[in-house]
Point group: D2
Chain length 284, copies 4
C-alpha cells in the first residue's frame, strides 16, 4: 500500500475487504439491497440477518424460524452469568453499552454454547450414519454428556412446550427435519435411561438450525458446515440474549439500584500464610 | 440458605431485584408471559422488546416501528468505528462475542449517539414551546449544531428516501407526530440556511421515538423523559447495529482475513526527544 | 486522502496521529527512548508509565509514588463489582482477556471513581481558596458527601495504616503536599462531626496525585487540570486493579470452578401480570 | 442470611471460593500479606503479581524478570490491532475503560499469542528430548512455523538488542536457562535456512518464562505446565500492553482527535446483486 503510494501508482491493493454492506452510494446497501428498499418492501429482521450474515435471502419459513429463536432465547432470568454481570455493571453506574458488553463477554462454551455444540454433534453423527444409541454410547465412553439432552424438571410426561412448539413449526414448514428426527431418536434412547433425559430447548434449536441450513437450498454441505463453524448460531444466541441483557440494564437503572457488592458470607476464603520474602527456597 | 428459606424461617432481604423476567416456574416468563405463549401466540421481536424493556405491550404500530428502526440501522458499512473495530478483532482471530464487543464499545456520544441527542433536544425544545427558529439560534449561540440536521449528499431536492418512508409510516399509523412535525419545522428553517441542512435519518428516528413513547398511551410525560434518559433509544441502536457487526465478523472469518495492521504511512508520528532521566527540572 | 491518492500525489495527510510510541525504526521507542535502552538502563514501570502517558520522565519520587499506588490498589477482594464479574466470566469458561474486560467494564463513577472525584474536588476547592469547613458545608448543602472521607471501621484513634504510610512517604519525598494538607484539614473538620469521617485511602491517593502533578515541575496548572480530566488517575486505578482481576481469573481457572449461577433465593422478583396484547389503551 | 450466619445456625455452602485476596479484616491481604505491609516493606509490582497470581513470593530475580517483561512489551506502536482499536474507541469519545477494553479484546492467538505458543512449544519439545532440528522439521511437516523465530529486519549479524539484553539478564541471574538454550539451538538450526530466522523477542520471553517457572523452586513440573495453560504469560502480556493502550487513549483525548472513519478507498467491496426475495430456489 505504502510503496504503491510512494510510486504514485493508482492500483491500490486495499487493506480491507467487505462483502456485506456497501456504503458507497447515496445510501448503504445490505448485500445489494438499498436500505430504503428494506423499509419500503417491508423486509423482516430475519431477512436482514439473512442478507448481512448469509449474503442471500433465505425463504420465509427460514427467516421466520430465526425470528422465533430470537424471541425464544431473549432472556432466561437475572441469575445466569450474562444477565448477572450486566446487572452488576449497570448498578456500578455504567452506561448501557458497557453493561451489555460485560454480560455478553460471559457467553461461551458453558453459557450459551450448548446450542452450538448440539448442532455440530447432531450433524456430525447423523451425517456419519451412526445410530442414535451408538452416538450416545460413544460420547458416554469418552465421559461426555449429549449436549441438548436433559432437563432439571421436564420429563417424557411433562414435556417442554417450547420444544414441542418449535418442532411443530418446523414439521409444518421445513422441507426436511432430518436432524431434528435424529435428535428425537437420540432422545428416545436416552429416555430409556432416565425420564428427564428429554431433548431440551438448546438441542431442539441446534438440530433445527442444521435442518434450516441444509434444506433451504442455498448452501451445499460444506457451506453448512462452515456456517456452523464460523459461529452463526452463536450469533443468533448473542443477538437474542442482547435483548434480555439490555432489558436488565434498563431495569436496574430505572430502579436506581446501588452498587452491588457480593455478600462476604457467600465466599469461602482459603487462607494461606504470608509466604516468606524472596521465595521459600531461599529460606531453607 | 435455600433450605432455611423454604422452611420460612428467615426473612431474607435479597441483594438483587428484578422486574423483567421471572425464571422461577417451569419456564421463564417475560413480564408475566411464558415463553411458550411467546412462541404460540406469535409475539414479534418488537413485542418482546416492549415486554422486556418497557414492561408493557405497546400497540402494534409502535412495536412495528421499532422493528423498522432495527432493520434500518442494522449496518452502515465497514468504515464506521464500530464495524471497523469488529473487523480488526475478527481478523485477530478472536471469537464472535469478543469481536462484537470490541465494536460495540465504540458506540457513544459520537458514534450512534446523535439519535439520542436529537430525541432529547426535539422533546425539550418542543415541550418548552420554543419556536423552531429560536431553537436553532439558541444552539448556534452556544456554538452547537442541531443534532439530526444535515447530510453530506442529501438536499431539499434530493431527499433521503429512508426519512420519507419512515415519516410516511408514522403519519399513517401514529396517533400523533407532534415531535416529527417540530423537527420538520426545524428543517424548514435550516434549509433556508443551506440546501443540505435537511432532517437526516438520525433526527427522524429520534423525533419519532419520542412521538411513539408520548402517544402510545402507556407512559406519562415523566416516564417518557425517564425512558429517554435511561437510554432505551440507544438500546435500539445497539441491538440493531449488533446485527451488522456480527455480519462483519462472520464476513472476515469466512474470508479468512489475516491480522490487520494499520499502514504505518497513514500515521503522523510527532516525535519527541528522549526526556532526561529523573525529570527536566533535575537537569537544570 | 482518497483524492490525493487518485491524483497520485505524495503529500498524504494521514488519518492518525500518534505522539507516544514510534514503531518505525528497528525497534519501537517510547517517547524517544528505544526499548533496548529501557531494558539496559533499568527503567522502572513507573518511568515507562511516565513516558507513555505523560510524555516526559517524572522524577523518581513521583514514578515511585505511582508504583506504590499500583501495588496498593491491586486488589480489594473478590466481592467488589470488578472482581465479581471477572470471577463469573472466568467460571463461564472464557479466556483471561474476556474475563478481565468483563470486570474492567464495571469501573466507573461508583466503583473506582472515588479517587478521581476526590482529586478533582480537593484541587478545585483548595485552588479556589475555600476553607475546608466551607468546602464540607458547601457539599452538604448540595446533599453531597465529601469523596475520600469516611470509613466503615477506621477512626481517628484506629487509623488506616495505608493512609499513614502513603502520607509519610509523600511528606518525606514530595516537594509540596499542599493538597494532602488541605485534605487533612477537611478531615480535621469532619472528625468533629463523627469519629469515622477520616481521610480514607481513596482520598489520600487522590490528593497526593494532584500534589505529584503540581509539584513535579513538568506541568503548568492548566496541564495538571487536563491530566486529571483525561483520566490519568483512573488509568492508574484500572492498571492496578487489572493485576488483581487477572489474579482472580487465574484463581477460578486453577480451581476449575463451574459455571456460576446466582442463587434464585437472593432475588426479589417484582411480578407483573401479563399485559394485554396491543397495549392497555386498546383494551379499554 | 448474615444474621443467621452469625448465630451459627446455618451450615452454609458458599457459592464462591477465593484463594487470592482476603478482604475480611481491617484491610485486605494479598495472599496473607496486609496491604500496609506491602507499602511498608516496599513490595515491588512483580512481587505483588507473584502473590496474587502464583500465591507465593518468587525470588527477586524472577519478580524482576517479570517487571522487565512488563516494560519491554508495554507498547509496540499505534498500528497493531490492540492499539488501533483503542485509538478508534478513544476518538469515538468513549472513556478510558471502554477504550482499553476495545483494544484488549483483540489480544489472542494472532496478536500477543506468539509468546504463549513459543513457551508451550519450547517446553513440550525440550521436555520430550526432541532435538532442535527434529522440532523444526516436525512443525514444518505439519505446515507450521516455529513460533518465536523470525524477524522482518533482524538477522544473525544485526541482532535484536532486546533479545540479547534479556538473555544476558537471565544468564546472570537464573539458576537455569535450559529452555532458552533449547530455543537458541533451534535458532542455530533455522539460521542455516535463512539469515533472518533469529530467535525473536516473543520467543525469548516465552522460553525464559518457562525457565523462570521451572527453576524458581516453587513449582513442580505439573504446576509449571498448569500455569502456562491457565494463561499466566498471556496475563503478563495483557497487563503490560495495557500500559501502552492507556497511553494511546490519553494521547488521542489530549489531542482531541475527531471520530475515526476508515477511508472508503482502502476497502475492496465485493458486490453481490440483490438476491431475490424468498430464496433463490423459490424463483426457479
Ligand atoms: C438436566 C441434567 C442436569 C440431568 O441432571 P440429573 O437428573 O441430575 O442427572 P445426573 O447428572 O444425575 O445423571 C443421571 C444419569 O443420566 C446421564 N445423563 C445426564 N445427562 C445426560 C446427557 N445430557 N446425555 C447423556 N446422559 C446424560 C448421566 O450420565 C447419568 O448416567 P449414569 O447414571 O449412567 O451415570 C443434565 O442432563 C444436563 O445438564 N443436561 C443439559 C442441560 C442443558 O442443556 N440445559 C440447557 C437447556 S435449558
Ligand atoms: C452534514 C454536515 C456535515 C454539513 O456539512 P457542510 O455542508 O460541510 O456544512 P458546514 O460544516 O460547512 O456548515 C455550513 C453551515 O451550516 C451550518 N450547519 C451545519 N450543520 C448544521 C446543523 N446540524 N445544525 C445547524 N447548522 C448547521 C454551519 O453552522 C454553517 O453555518 P455558518 O455558515 O453560518 O457557519 C453537518 O450538517 C452534520 O454533521 N450534520 C449531522 C450529520 C449527522 O447527523 N449524520 C448522521 C446521519 S447520516
Ligand atoms: C464510611 C461511610 C459509609 C460512613 O458511614 P456511616 O458511619 O454509616 O455514616 P452515615 O452514612 O450514617 O452518616 C453519618 C453522618 O456523617 C456524614 N457523612 C458521612 N460520610 C460523609 C462524607 N464522606 N462527607 C461528609 N459527611 C459525611 C453524613 O452526612 C451524616 O451526617 P448527618 O448525621 O449530619 O446527616 C461514608 O463516609 C462513606 O461512604 N465514605 C466514602 C467511603 C469511601 O470512600 N470508600 C472507599 C475507600 S475504602
Ligand atoms: C519474520 C517472518 C515474517 C519471515 O519472513 P520472510 O523472510 O518473508 O520469510 P518467508 O515467509 O518468505 O519464509 C522463508 C522461509 O523461512 C521459513 N520460515 C519463516 N519463518 C519461519 C519460522 N518462524 N519457523 C520456521 N521456518 C520459518 C519459511 O517456511 C520459508 O521456508 P521455505 O523457503 O522452505 O518455504 C516470519 O519468520 C515470522 O512471521 N516470524 C514470526 C514473527 C514474530 O514472531 N513476530 C513477533 C516478534 S516481533
Amino acid at each position: 500500500f505504502g510503496s504503491a503510494l510512494k510510486q504514485g501508482e493508482l492500483r491500490v491493493s486495499t487493506n480491507i475487504v467487505c462483502t456485506t454492506t456497501d456504503d458507497r452510494g447515496e445510501e448503504p446497501k445490505y448485500c445489494g439491497v438499498p436500505i430504503s428498499d428494506i423499509i419500503q418492501d417491508n423486509y423482516s429482521i430475519g431477512e436482514v440477518i439473512s442478507l448481512l450474515w448469509f449474503k442471500t435471502l433465505l425463504p420465509q419459513w427460514a427467516t421466520k424460524f430465526m425470528e422465533i429463536v430470537l424471541v425464544t432465547a431473549a432472556d432466561h432470568g437475572p441469575n445466569v452469568s450474562g444477565a448477572h454481570n450486566t446487572i452488576v455493571t449497570a448498578r456500578a453506574g455504567r452506561d448501557l453499552g458497557a453493561s451489555l458488553c460485560s454480560g455478553l463477554l460471559t457467553i461461551g462454551p458453558r453459557f450459551g454454547g450448548a446450542v452450538d455444540m448440539a448442532a455440530i454433534n447432531f450433524k456430525h453423527f447423523c451425517d456419519a450414519k451412526i445410530s442414535p444409541p451408538d452416538f450416545v454410547e460413544t460420547l458416554k465412553k469418552k465421559g461426555q454428556r449429549v449436549e441438548g439432552i436433559g432437563h432439571r424438571i421436564k420429563t417424557a410426561e411433562n414435556r417442554d412446550k417450547r420444544v414441542e412448539l418449535l418442532s411443530a413449526y418446523a414439521k409444518e414448514t421445513f422441507p426436511s427435519i432430518k436432524y431434528l428426527e435424529y435428535a428425537q431418536q437420540v432422545e428416545a434412547y436416552t429416555l430409556q435411561k432416565a425420564n428427564n433425559l428429554v431433548l431440551n430447548i438448546d438441542g431442539c434449536i441446534g438440530a433445527l438450525f442444521v435442518d434450516m441450513l441444509s434444506s433451504c437450498g442455498e448452501f451445499n454441505e460444506e457451506e453448512v458446515q462452515e456456517i456452523l463453524e464460523l459461529g452463526a448460531l452463536n450469533g443468533i444466541f448473542i443477538l437474542s440474549r442482547s435483548i434480555g441483557l439490555i432489558g436488565h440494564a434498563l431495569d436496574q437503572k430505572r430502579m436506581r439500584q446501588p452498587l452491588y457488592r457480593h455478600p462476604q458470607e457467600d465466599v469461602l476464603y482459603i487462607a494461606s500464610d504470608a509466604p516468606p520474602r524472596g521465595g521459600r527456597k531461599t529460606q531453607e
